[in-house]
């Protein structure tokens, strides 16, 4: 639904009257701020925006948005959002979730919402730790991670969330970070614009239980060397001076010096190319084990029919064929008999 108000809204209009209760210094503050500042630009009336969350630190998010919102139960936000969207496809629905909420207890719902391609936006706050329960390892914590519940190191292989989304048939797969706000705002806008389920993973620093988990990618001294910002149609270059680049030898990515090749010979990002996009999601090794950078931006985007459109189309189809339902006819059924006297 298009915005109809004359006076343009600002980020402040999207801030609720509730005190924000995350720990001081939490990465969630930045994400909240970026979401609030993007909202006026997406062209949707405040009354038509709904934030749905599960359980966890990030899931307090809806309370702080001056829109419609629901803080539901652990892992189930995709289910709630699916019902909401099926009931009213005109709404702009945002799912706020974390690595435990989306990938552990709610893993089943995440893969199914992705395959159905319900038109909603999932913001997955990944901090590689359980924050609200005070510091146990999560399904994205690296092997060996020492936490309260893994004093000898975690033995669980972590999920690669974007490869998982790929496998589930996701149609919009992207990654951003709490500390690159401009880039994040662009991805939030792109998530909204995508017609289908958008999965935006956001690296978010938990400064209390997992401080610095992503500093390699977010902090000045290491970011340039380790982060590749992908742009559709552009060669994959990175480094402080864009001195590094990726090229493809067949389907094998190679790390090269930018100057050694003309741009045309480098890997040009095509976010609609399923095979190459999948290769990008595989660049997931820890920086200590690889020279390859961690990609950020939109990995993959595909236009595929939206679930709720299918629901509505079948209703329209049924009404075109059988006419709008007549309750008396339905109650009567096909075989009746009469008792007189």
């Amino acid at each position: 639904m298009e915005a109809t108000e004359n006076k343009p809204l600002t980020a402040k209009d999207f801030s609720s009257d509730q005190d924000v209760r995350w720990c001081p210094g939490c990465g969630d503050y930045s994400i909240l701020k970026q979401v609030q500042s993007v909202m006026p630009d997406i062209g949707v009336d405040k009354k038509d925006i709904v934030f749905i969350s599960g359980i966890g630190c990030s899931s307090r998010f809806p309370y702080y948005m001056n829109t419609y919102g629901m803080h539901s139960i652990h892992g189930r936000a995709p289910g709630v959002a699916t019902g909401l969207k099926v009931a009213n496809p005109d709404l702009s629905v945002w799912v706020i979730t974390g690595d435990g909420d989306a990938l552990s207890i709610g893993g089943n719902h995440l893969i199914h919402v992705l395959r159905r391609n319900v038109n909603l936006n999932i913001l997955l706050f990944n901090n590689e730790i359980y924050g609200l329960t005070k510091g146990q390892y999560s399904p994205t914590s690296p092997v060996g991670k020492n936490t309260k519940s893994s004093p000898m190191g975690s033995i669980d292989q972590p999920f690669n969330p974007l490869a998982l989304a790929f496998g589930a048939g996701g149609t919009f797969i992207a990654r951003g970070m709490d500390r690159d706000v401009k880039h994040l705002r662009g991805l939030l806008k792109a998530s909204h614009d995508h017609q289908g389920t958008s999965l935006l993973e956001i690296y978010q620093n938990c400064n209390v239980f997992n401080d610095g988990a992503f500093f390699t990618f977010t902090e000045k001294d290491s970011k340039a060397r380790n982060v590749l910002f992908m742009e559709h149609g552009a060669p994959m270059k990175f480094g402080a001076e864009q001195e590094f680049a990726l090229r493809l030898d067949g389907l094998s990515p190679q790390l090269v010096k930018s100057n050694d090749y003309s741009d045309d010979d480098l890997w040009i990002h095509d976010q609609h190319d399923k095979t190459k996009s999948f290769l990008l999601t595989q660049m997931f090794e820890h920086p200590e084990h690889t020279d390859f950078p961690r990609p950020f931006g939109i990995f993959y985007q595909e236009d595929r029919p939206r679930y709720e459109d299918g629901v509505i189309a079948q209703i329209n189809d049924a009404q075109a064929k059988k006419g709008k339902g007549n309750l008396d006819d339905l109650l009567k059924g096909n075989f009746t008999w009469k008792i007189d006297d």
Partner: protein, 609 residues
Amino acid sequence: MEIIDKKDITVLIAGDSGDGMQLTGSQLTQTSALFGNDISTFPNFPAEIRAPQGTVAGVSGFQLKFSSEKLYTPGDSCDVLVAMNAAALKANINKLKSGGELIVNIEGFDKKNLRLAGIDSDQHPLESKEIEDFNLIKLEVTKLTREVLKESALGQKEKDRCKNMFVLGYLYWMYSRDTESTVQFLKEKFGGKPDVLEANLKVLNAGYHFGDTNEEFTSRFKVEKAKLDEGEYRSITGNHAAALGLISASVKSDLELVYGSYPITPASDILHELSKHKNFGVKTIQAEDEIAAICAAIGASFAGSLAVTASSGPGIALKGEAIGLQAILELPMVIVNVQRGGPSTGLPTKTEQADLLQAFYGRNGECPVPILAATTPKDCFYMAFEAARIALEHMTPVFFLSDGYIANGAEPWAYPTEASLPNITPQFASGDGTNYLPYKRDDNLVRKWAIPGQEGFEHRIGGLEKEHETGNVSYDPENHEFMVKTRAEKVEKIADHIPLQDIDAGKPSGRILVLGWGSTYGAIKTAVRACLDEGIDVSHAQIKYLSPFPKNLKTVLESYDQILIPEMNDGQLIKIIRSQFGIDAEPLNKIQGLPFTSSEIINKIKSLA
């Protein structure tokens, strides 16, 4: 040929679960209903789709009673048993009345079938002494079917699949019924497969004419039309009725029906039925699991739809946390539980009433939810509608309890018109939203429903305890206690908006009250009537509103010297009656995956009288 008039006839058709026994039974039911008999059915089948052939575990049965008088049960025993094989005979012979008709397919009694049924070949059941008690009719169904279809292009397997039509045709002849409605049914079912349609029609007719031309048969039977109340009737099963009740509630509330469900026996037929009626704007979501199913319904209720989820006991267990969320959100929802034998996977295709305490208490925290139960197949229509009315007008999830017995059973129904059903009027928030408080309540303690898309009413709700009126998150101790009590009181106040408890039969006070709930209605009613006829001082009340109870229930209970509570569980309502009213009662429990027979209840009443 002689045609003998009978008041009623109970037929039990039994065979392998792949033999088409359920279809044969439901066709005989439909035809008898259309003829004008009162009917009551009891389909009884194994959990396996193709259970081991020829074994007792694989026997699928369909019991139908059709009558010239009003019926309340499918009968304690049968006048006619059709046994397609030895296992079917072994499993059901004890239900056949002495002197009854025993129709057997003798091809199902060869050595192999006897072995599969666990019968010694030197004790052939059709040659036993006990069998002389019955009027034995032997048919060679497979041979006759193949003979009829010898020129058909169908394969042997497909031909043999028509043999249930031979039996059906024969039964139509025997009970003086015409084949017309089955012919129509087959035309619809096999319209796209002319070969199969032709074969089925041929075999059906052959079965009918077999009776006509075979000189062995000397008599036919006839059951006159029943003197039911004046009106237009159709036949309906409980699950079908529940689906129609939900669609009716959607029409009468002017809200879209959104149904979130995960397939489970014996509730799936509601999903099947609803998904046929998308032209009513019905939206069905087959979710990835039980939890997603109810969560989709939660989302739909937030969006302002009539939200419904349905399951059976195991699925309801999975939905527990989400039911608690819906209760604290104070949004409307109908939760259907078509109960089956438990615990765990239990007896998936058999009936039980053992989820009553789950409905009352099966959630974390203080979480009362209104509970309704249907008494008969057609009552599923009215109680599903009632569940939706209470949910929408009182902003709460509501349990509607059915069970496998009435969900699959059928009876005639003088169906209502749209105009005769009451309107359902949910209280939506109105105005510009300036002073909207999401948890401000009216006299019934019901909050106003504001839905996304309504300008000025933007608000947040969630599973954390909320502050009175504002709905803001609150950990205040006094507020929590206040909100827990307020939510409970809201549910209690629904008692002002439901009918008082009535006495179904007998005097309003006296010696014994038989108190039932849900699907035990027919068996208790039949039993109490029989006892009243014998001059026993006994009455019958059947509870349909279980939480809150009707306001006069305590007075009703106190009007009798003794209360008998028959339940298809190990004593659940009785616990609630004891704890809520401090009134003791005598239990009668049956936990066999089978409904009560009326004689079981009669015997118990007599032991107390």
